[in-house]
């Protein structure tokens, strides 16, 4: 394509006409490096590789500035498709966290399904067995002006998740759902996957040492390449416009969990071959940016060039070279391996697992690794791409402008409602608090037989994935968009703190974090400021809450993703730094749930109540207000709270635990009583757990951080001592009763006296009503 010598407006016109998203300046810089006009396939390849999605061109500097990615337990930080942390001397957790927001808004079922499809490949390609996924979801207002669309998206997304995850055979163990009108036109579908691998069996996503000299094969495995998902990364790097919806549909990939199921089993045989032969290979999944992205990144990471021949690729028909290079056809992997193992590797996929016969797929040798530094692609005998590989993968950087958004929010002047029981029922049935059971019954939590704590039983899911080993892996996700609306910084900080509290509340020690940073258009200074603030907030929490047992060391963030352009002409989403936390419990037998255990047990609160109802469910559901006093993280106190809870559970002092989040103390205590069939009740006195001047409704519904612990009465003193040992104040709220009632009093006067059977009915019906 002619660039050199043409005026800017002409180049711009030609780029747009060809369907290329890059700027004229970017195109010119490519021509300058090549010393000639680039070919059309070259431009398409650069366009994909330099997209926001692949290159992190707007975000990289900020991530580097703030995020702590190293720590004593880190085996591999965020350099490849997934991060890795050690569990013990032998085993590791592999974790990856991605977004599939744009595709899910356009085609909810396919978008959400391919979100899982991509993330499990990221984890599997490190040599790991994928053992769990989690799905943080954000939908618009199910009762708002876009209700029909919102419900259609929500239902489609849930269907896509279960249809893919259940068929693949990977349990869905955690997740959350938030409804907020800012997601009316841009849903968020984030997805987390974790796997386990032995430390000495990790496989890297790069051309191994000696690959160039040895002329290693490049082998493409999986579904025949077609034009599906064409331009997916470019589409994910732009704001959604309704008039382009038809075109964008083509950018959504097509899921095939059936083929993935077979591929994973064949991959296990590949991993076994690698182990038994002691050979080092490179292995990577094909995701955003397709064949070009996977191949060039693997070559560049090994310091080699490569030569590829599209005529050797198995395809679903005739396609132009640029389509074969950057289409995002699902269910594909790339192997870089020594030629002497070629026959055996092809046999594993094509014969043993009969990919052609069982699923119309295949493994094909498509090129080789070279010692030069070029990325060369031939099509029909002709060289269509010949560029410096490091230039292609190096991407570009932008210094985006950041300007604080003017946030015009204030604390409302409210009159406390008379009937607190009615308030409780309204909150319990509200879409953001109601039980998630309606959704998680679609998720196969039992496949693989590792489930120990399931969705709905506690603040985090827990699996015991290695037979003969006692350790459990806990997983939780969090982010509150209403806090983000008030303060992106505190949204980031509280997301980390809550995800860590969630994991601690089953007795696991937070071991690593991931982040998926969902924001609007970064070319707008206010949106970029939101991104920076949220990142700074979550980094501060990770740094200041410490890896337990390593004072001063952060909880490392080993994987993550940035999703910009979550906006439509109607507006941007609320800043949404979504965080996942993995915790390890060395003896999974000790883990506890949130459900009340025994009458006469005592209930303790740690974490004082503050006047922090900004963004709270109480303000929004009861008064339709947002407020301004967003919950903050008091880092010293928060750390002590998390560490005290882990120790209390380890010592058997806390037999149940639940963190305080949406709906505050009143909702969290009631959830402990109604999480399962109602058997027990609570009789609590809350005066003293906040300033005397704080109104009673603020005490009840403030969303300040806190943890509730149930302790057998004869061990209450021990628990108090333990809590005091962390410089925290234990609040003895009262006791578990054998009457199915929640009674909450202040200075002896009842504020709430709620029938728990009625409460459970309200709580279990709210979600279904919102999405069906």
């Amino acid at each position: 394509m002619k660039i050199i010598g043409l005026a800017d407006d002409e180049v711009d016109k030609d780029l747009r006409a060809a369907g290329i998203g890059m700027s004229v300046a970017e195109a010119r810089s490519i021509a300058a490096v090549l010393g000639r006009d680039p070919t059309l396939p070259e431009l398409f390849n650069y366009d994909a590789m330099w997209s926001e999605h692949c290159s992190y061109k707007s975000s990289r500097a900020t991530l580097k500035e703030f995020l702590p990615t190293d720590g004593p337990n880190v085996v591999m930080g965020p350099v490849e498709d997934a991060g890795i942390v050690a569990i013990d001397d032998e085993w590791c957790v592999v974790i990856s966290h991605e977004s599939h927001n744009h595709p899910s808004q356009i085609l909810p079922n396919e978008g959400a399904a391919t979100g899982i499809g991509g993330i499990v490949r990221d984890v599997n390609c490190m040599g790991a067995k994928v053992v769990a996924t989690a799905d943080p979801l954000r939908f618009g207002d199910p009762y708002g002006p876009s209700a029909n669309k919102v419900r259609w998206v929500a239902e489609g997304v849930v269907d896509g998740i279960w249809q893919y995850g259940d068929a693949l055979g990977v349990p869905i163990m955690a997740g959350d759902i938030v409804f907020d009108e800012s997601f009316d036109n841009n849903c968020l579908v984030n997805v987390v996957a974790i796997g386990v691998v032995k430390k000495d069996e990790i496989i890297r996503s790069r051309a191994p040492l000696g690959a160039g000299e040895g002329g290693y094969d490049v082998i493409l495995v999986g579904k025949p390449t077609d034009s599906s998902g064409l331009g997916g990364v470019v589409f994910a790097s732009e704001a959604l416009r309704e008039e382009e919806e038809a075109t964008n549909r083509g950018a959504v990939q097509i899921p095939d969990p059936f083929l993935k199921n077979i591929l994973f089993k064949a991959n296990e045989d590949l991993f076994r071959l690698v182990r038994e032969e002691g050979v080092e290979i490179g292995f990577k999944d094909l995701g955003g940016g397709g064949f070009t992205c996977a191949s060039s990144e693997m070559g560049a990471a090994g310091g080699f060039g490569m030569e590829l021949d599209l005529d050797l690729m198995h395809t679903a028909g005739e396609f132009p070279p640029e389509v074969l290079c950057i289409a995002e056809t699902q269910e594909r992997f790339l192997i870089i391996s020594p030629p002497e193992h070629r026959e055996r590797i092809l046999e594993i996929y094509n014969k043993d697992w009969d990919l052609p016969g069982a699923a119309g797929a295949k493994a094909s040798v498509v090129g080789k690794i070279c010692t030069h530094d070029r990325y060369i692609v031939r099509d029909k005998g002709e060289k269509v791409i010949d560029v410096p590989i490091q230039h292609l993968t190096g991407g570009i950087r932008y210094e985006r402008e950041s300007k604080p958004r003017k946030i015009d929010l204030f604390e409302p002047d409210l009159v406390m409602p008379e009937d607190m029981n009615a308030v409780m029922l309204k909150l319990l049935s509200s879409p953001n608090i109601a039980s998630r059971e309606h959704v998680y019954r679609y998720y196969d939590t039992e496949v693989q037989g590792n489930a120990r704590i399931r969705p709905g039983e506690a603040d985090a899911g827990l699996i015991v994935p290695v037979r003969g080993k006692g350790f459990g892996i806990a997983l939780a996700v969090d982010s509150n968009p209403f806090y983000g609306r008030i303060s992106p910084y505190w949204a980031g900080a509280t997301a980390v703190a809550e995800a860590m509290r969630n994991v601690a509340c089953i007795g696991a020690t937070p071991s690593t974090l991931t982040d998926c940073l969902n924001f609007g258009n970064p070319e707008k200074p206010e949106a970029f400021w939101e991104f920076r603030e949220a990142t700074r907030g979550l980094a501060d929490s990770a740094k200041r809450l410490w890896l337990k047992g390593y004072p001063g060391q952060p909880v490392p963030i080993v994987s993550g993703n940035v999703s910009f352009y979550n906006e439509a002409p109607e507006g941007s989403i609320d800043p949404s730094p979504v965080v996942a936390c993995v915790g390890i419990i060395s003896d999974a037998e000790k883990a506890v749930t949130m459900e009340l255990k025994e009458a006469k047990d005592r209930i303790y609160l740690i974490g004082r109540r503050y006047d922090e109802l900004g963004g709270s469910e109480y303000y929004r559901e009861i008064f339709n207000e947002t407020g301004a006093n967003v919950p903050q993280v008091r880092f010293e106190e928060e750390r002590a709270m998390i560490h005290a809870t882990i120790d209390a559970i380890d010592r058997g002092l806390a037999v149940s635990a639940h963190d305080i989040s949406n709906g505050g103390l009143a909702i969290s205590t009631s959830e402990m009583a109604i999480a399962q069939e109602v058997r027990l009740g609570l009789d609590l006195e809350i005066d003293g757990c906040g300033d005397a001047s704080l109104s009673s409704d603020r005490l009840l519904f403030s969303e300040s951080s806190g943890i509730l612990l149930e302790v057998p009465a004869n061990r209450a003193k021990e628990l108090e001592e333990l809590i005091r040992g962390f410089n925290l104040e234990p609040f003895d709220l009262g006791s578990v009763t054998d009457e199915a009632k929640l009674v909450i009093k202040r200075r002896g006067a009842p504020l709430i006296d709620l029938d728990l059977a009625e409460a459970r009915d309200a709580w279990t019906s709210g979600l279904e009503e919102a999405i069906e």
Partner: protein, 261 residues
């Protein structure tokens, strides 16, 4: 004693099933669908595990039921060797005519329809724990050989099509009369309430598992292989460590093979 865990494209429970087989004191291996089917004769018993064989195309289980390996499996079953089908495996055995055993397709495992108070409250896929009541006599089937009549067992289900229905008049009564109904969904005190969530998928008379007239072929929708350790049972933390109820199904299979030798 060697058990073949038969794997089709799309099967996803073969590994935990193999764990359960070994845990019950038997040898076993995963038998891939494209292995020479004659090799199947070398085994003493067979399990068709759960999953989404051939992506549930057409109807759950129907494509797998036409594989050559299934023809051999029928011959081995005719010899009296035990065959247990779990979830999708049950669907495959029904589609192949091995259950209830006439050689014809007499039953269907239709889409789940959850009914409560006369109203459909949900349809399709559902994952959750259920209680099963053992309905038959001890030694009636290969997978319930060691169970007493009326025994209660906690096991999970995870399927979209487990609603056992038939158009064949009198078949349900016949199954009951011949003690071929092995498991029914019931509540925790052992009553088979015909209403969701006790009848979790709308199955006729709460039927969760049946055997053929000879008793050597058993099909069940719940997953015993996911309930072989007590720690796998919800709610967590309420049970002493030890075996789970699902293990009885595999130990029954072992005992069945021992006594039929």
């Amino acid at each position: 004693m060697r058990i073949a865990v038969i794997q089709f494209p799309g099967t996803n429970c073969e590994h935990e099933t193999l764990v359960a087989v070994r845990d019950a004191g038997m040898d076993g291996e995963i038998f891939r669908w494209n292995r020479p089917e004659q090799e199947l004769s070398e085994f003493d018993g067979y399990i068709v595990p759960g999953g989404f064989s051939y992506q549930d195309r057409l109807r759950a289980g129907v494509i797998a039921s036409k594989e050559p390996v299934m023809a051999t499996l029928k011959e081995e079953a005719a010899e009296g060797k035990p065959v247990i089908g779990i979830c999708n495996g049950f669907q495959i055995l029904v589609e192949s005519g091995m259950l209830p055993g006439s050689g014809e397709i007499d039953l269907a495992l239709a889409q789940n329809v959850m009914v409560k108070g006369g109203r459909i409250v949900r349809r399709g896929y559902y994952c959750g724990w259920t209680t099963l009541r053992h309905e038959s006599l001890p030694r009636r089937s290969c997978g319930s050989f060691l169970l007493d009549g009326g025994a209660l067992l906690q096991m999970p289900i995870a399927h979209a099509e487990g609603n056992l229905v038939t158009a064949k008049e009198g078949l349900i009564q016949e199954l009951a009369d011949e003690d071929q109904v092995i498991f029914r969904y019931c509540n925790s005190s052992g009553t088979a309430v015909d209403e969701f969530p006790v009848n979790v998928n709308g199955s006729t008379e709460n039927i969760a598992g049946i055997c053929n007239p000879e008793g050597n072929v058993l099909g069940m929708m719940p997953h015993p292989e996911r309930a072989i350790f007590s720690w796998q049972l919800p709610p967590p933390g309420r049970r002493p460590p030890g075996p789970g109820p699902g293990r009885m199904v595999f130990e029954s299979m072992r005992r069945f093979i021992e006594v039929s030798r």
